[in-house]
């Protein structure tokens, strides 16, 4: 099948991410050894990315949990460069991003979350999670709008 070390490294690392998300998100019940899944995913990614000569296949093409049906065109906003936004959130909103990602990405339950972030319990972790969600949402919105103003 060919492929360089670097290509194999990228494919393998992406396969790990896909596998992790499949297990976390869909609660995939494992019937075979882990390496069988990894091999299968890696093979799929490789075929997708290199045989079909489409190097732009991303993890998104696996179809994820979030609702994609909201029609973005209707809102009148353009998609914004996410790089800048991500950079800002990493700088200014680290604490909230860690909390949100622990809940929405790692799918930790509220008890575990409270333990990790030092909250008194599940209730206070839930409250904090929503506070962070609101804060980050405002940043996402403000940043996207600002960017809009510049490009127009």
């Amino acid at each position: 099948m060919g492929g360089s070390f670097e290509e194999a490294k990228d494919i393998f690392q992406d396969a790990l991410v896909v596998y992790y998300e499949k297990v976390q998100v869909s609660g995939l019940k494992l019937k075979y050894q882990e390496k069988a899944y990894l091999f299968g995913i890696a093979k799929y990614l490789w075929i997708k990315r290199y045989q079909e000569n489409d190097r732009q296949v991303t993890l998104d093409s696996f179809g994820f949990v979030f609702n994609e049906e909201i029609d973005l065109a209707d809102t009148g906003y353009e998609e914004v460069s996410s790089g800048k936004l991500m950079h800002l959130l990493e700088q200014a909103g680290q604490k909230c991003m860690q909390l949100l990602s622990a809940f929405y990405y790692e799918k930790l339950d509220m008890e575990t979350l409270a333990g990790r972030f030092g909250f008194s319990g599940a209730r206070s972790a839930t409250a904090q999670k929503f506070k962070c969600l609101e804060k980050v949402k405002e940043t996402v919105k403000a940043k996207s709008l600002k960017y809009e103003d510049i490009v127009e």
């Binding site: 991500m86 929503f130 996402v140």
Partner: protein
């Protein structure tokens, strides 16, 4: 405009719950009647995507750190050689 906590919860339920129930249809009707709500849903959805991207990035960093350890430290040299042999033609 700031979103109320209750609205955040409702939007979260609408966006992240798997099954569509009666409430979802009610919510969709509300979105038609209140364009402002629809915008809030859009931004919240985008926020979830951003959080997912952030989580992914952290995970990839972790994976890459392990890669660095495996391929650039003396103690894992034999593993490294084993892998590199696969790529030798």
């Amino acid at each position: 405009m700031k979103t109320s906590l209750n609205e955040l919860r409702l939007i979260e339920h609408y966006l992240l719950s798997d099954a569509k129930d009666g409430e979802s249809f009610l919510f969709e009707a509300k979105m038609i009647l209140q364009p402002e709500l629809k915008q809030q849903v859009y931004w919240q959805n985008k926020t979830y995507h951003t959080v997912r991207d952030y989580g992914r990035k952290q995970l990839k960093n972790e994976i890459n750190n392990i890669h660095e350890t495996l391929f650039n430290t003396a103690e894992h040299q034999s593993f490294r050689q084993k892998v590199m042999r696969l790529f030798r033609k």
